[in-house]
């Protein structure tokens, strides 16, 4: 039995969605000049809160909402620490991950071995019946469409809207943005909340769709992969989508190559998602000059004048 490319393509999108959502949130945060290393912690908190809410309400929609709120709540903690109390961003982010892992383990007690309510596939009339493409692109759940729509919306907003310009200004030169009268701290806090909500959604996608179950520590480093992906994408949303799908795709493909018994050394296959994703993202960025990190990334801002 060969590898069915349509099935493969379908699963690669599912595998990539948690990283894509979390990465997209972090991308916005970093474009605002804030480095939040707590992605893993916000993801796993979203995973457990989304799972609990979905199990009790029977509604995956409420589950995802709860996950977004939980991720944002954790992010708020980080925001208060780093934007108002001016704590170190790296240390606060790491602490947030530790906190999230511990908190989720505590909240998740008693939820192992339960199945969440199924997330329905959203068939798009007409499109889902298309041969090949219908199955690959148009028979997913709503979160997949939402994640792609979010990529498009964020890419457009960052490039073409006043809001995007302000956010980028805050990330590149908060002093100048402040001098122009923009509330740097408030804008950054909003970006942090948004990033937390998306990380929470990414986590819930793991526990409600991707696996679907709750297991302690189930993100197993997905948050760190999302963080790395943001850097390698050169802080560009479409490249992030490419990177996430590539990573998900090579992961799904290498497992299928192995399952089929193709004689390629398993250790090579196993490292290929990391190697290929990094290689491709670096190559496409190198030609036209890497966009580079937002100039004020990770630096605290305090309007003392």
């Amino acid at each position: 039995m060969g590898i069915d490319p349509v099935t493969l393509a379908f699963w690669l999108i599912v595998a990539a969605t948690p990283i894509l959502l979390a990465g997209l949130g972090e991308l916005v945060v970093e474009r605002a000049g804030v480095l939040n290393l707590g992605v893993e912690g916000m993801m796993i908190t979203g995973a457990v809160c989304g799972f609990i809410a979905a199990v009790h309400s029977g509604s995956p929609v409420l589950g995802f909402l709860a996950a977004a709120l939980a991720g944002a709540a954790l992010a708020l903690l980080f925001g208060v620490l780093t934007q108002i109390l001016l704590a170190n961003q790296v240390a606060s982010g790491l602490a947030l991950t530790l906190f999230g892992l511990g908190l989720s383990a505590l909240l998740g007690i008693g939820y192992s071995g339960i199945s969440p309510p199924p997330v329905p596939r959203l068939d798009l009339p007409g499109l889902s019946d298309l041969p090949v493409l219908g199955r690959i692109l148009f028979s997913h759940d709503a979160m997949v469409y939402l994640s792609v729509a979010a990529v498009a919306a964020i890419a457009w907003a960052l490039r073409a809207t006043r809001w995007g310009l302000i956010l980028r200004a805050v990330g590149e030169n908060p002093g100048a943005a402040h001098a122009l009268g923009y509330k740097v701290v408030r804008i950054r806090l909003l970006a942090i909340l948004f990033g937390g909500a998306l990380a929470g959604l990414g986590g819930a996608y793991l526990s409600l769709v991707r696996v679907p179950q709750w297991t302690e520590g189930m993100t197993a480093g997905a948050g760190w992969i999302a963080l790395a992906m943001v850097v390698f994408s050169g802080w560009k949303p479409w490249r992030l989508l490419l990177g996430a799908w590539l990573f998900g795709g090579v992961t799904a493909a290498q497992l299928r190559f192995q399952a089929q018994g193709i004689p390629v050394p398993a250790e090579l296959l196993s490292m290929s998602p990391y190697v290929i994703t990094i290689l491709v993202l670096v190559l496409i960025s190198s030609g036209r000059g890497m966009a580079g990190a937002p100039a004020a990334l990770g630096r605290p801002f305090h309007a003392t004048g």
């Binding site: 290393l37 892992l101 696996v211 297991t215 189930m218 004689p263 398993a266």
Partner: protein, 359 residues
């Protein structure tokens, strides 16, 4: 970056231990290093259950502590050092990959006893090793798998290419093939003990390739969820995984470390602890077989039970010749049984398995 997290966790916990270290006639302190989370409902879960059994057994005479999610490597060494500094009398390091770290730290703390699970190095008189003969359990579930598969494709989610895992694949395959000559094993190496998303994906990949029975040698129950959805069957690994019975979980191999842990802590209390190498199987109860559900036909249940009993009684060894290696050379002659040394270093597939073992 991921490595930082458990290290920090390790420091916090170990620092906490340090505060409580006090007078000489303290209770005996037993510390445990876990590779996964105690909520994995697999490997680490069972080690922790056995730790709790130690607490239960000794009451106030023994104090236990643990650090979970400790990566194999330098971080493990730091966690063990902290435990030793904090006054641990005996430290159980519960993953193969802690082998170097355990021996390195043991050299620095000759008065602390170290117990390393599934390893083979005892460089110092204060290091013991212990493991379970999981391959005995694998023989039984391999037998069941051979009977149950209709597609004749059995999927196998393997973690790392170490002897313990390879032994399990060989044992399961030999006993599946004995009852079903057409059976084909598809092995997927995921290079992790615990990553639910990857484990689930591997199960999905195997199912897409036609596997209708799946075995796992990883620690989470994520593959079970995928199996349930696809309507294929599998086996509880390390822990009973009873939440998934009667199907997809149709039987299970359970690790029961409690009697060993209680023995070893007792030896510390008595001052009789010595460096030993323990490798126990079904007979002493270190490997237990979980209930076989009605999803398995009664005659298969009976024959599987018979295999387990003859292994326990010492009448049957899962690696009994004639067995050839994958390359066709003879490994065991007719009636010959494998010696422990070869099994402990097993780095080859038996004849009939396809694919290569990664390096």
């Amino acid at each position: 970056m991921t490595r930082l997290i458990p290290t920090l966790a390790g420091f916090t916990l170990a620092a906490g231990l340090g505060l409580s270290a006090a007078a000489q006639d303290d209770p005996v302190k037993a510390a445990f290093v876990y590779v996964g989370s105690i909520g994995d409902f697999g490997w680490t879960y069972e080690h922790n259950e056995s730790r709790l059994a130690v607490e239960e057994h000794f009451g106030d005479a023994v104090e236990t502590s643990y650090v979970e999610n400790v990566p194999e490597g330098a971080d493990a060494e730091r966690v063990m050092t902290q435990m030793a500094l904090a006054g641990a009398d005996i430290i159980f390091t519960t993953s193969f990959g802690y082998m170097d770290a355990t021996n390195n730290v043991a050299a620095k703390f000759p008065d602390v006893k170290f117990e390393h699970a599934t390893g083979y190095r005892r460089d110092h008189p204060n290091v013991s090793t212990y493991s379970a003969r999981f391959y005995e359990g694998r023989a039984v579930i391999g037998h069941i798998a051979g009977h149950m598969t209709e597609s004749n494709i059995v999927g196998y989610i393997a973690s790392y290419p170490i002897p313990e895992v390879i032994r399990g694949i060989n044992s399961a395959y030999l006993h599946a093939k004995a009852v079903n000559p057409d059976v084909d094993f598809r092995v997927v190496w995921v290079f992790t003990w615990f990553d639910p998303a990857v484990e689930a994906e591997a199960a999905q990949a195997l199912i897409d390739q036609g596997a209708d029975v799946i075995m796992q040698h990883t620690d989470s129950t994520a593959p079970m969820t995928v199996m349930a959805e696809a309507g294929v069957i599998g086996f509880g690994q390390a822990s009973d995984m009873a939440a998934f019975a009667p199907a997809p979980r149709v039987a299970s191999i359970i690790d029961n470390w409690a009697p060993y842990y209680i023995d070893r802590v007792q030896a510390v209390i008595d001052g009789t602890w010595e460096s030993t190498d323990t490798w126990d199987g079904i007979a002493p109860g270190m490997v237990e077989l979980g209930e076989m559900t009605d999803a398995i036909p009664a005659d298969v249940r009976a024959s599987a039970q018979a295999i387990a009993e003859s292994i326990a009684a010492g009448d049957y060894h899962p690696f009994t010749g004639p067995i050839a290696r994958q390359d066709g050379t003879l490994w065991l002659d007719v009636g010959e049984v494998a010696d422990d040394g070869t099994m402990l270093g097993m780095d080859f597939y038996v004849e009939g398995l396809s694919g290569e073992i990664p390096n």
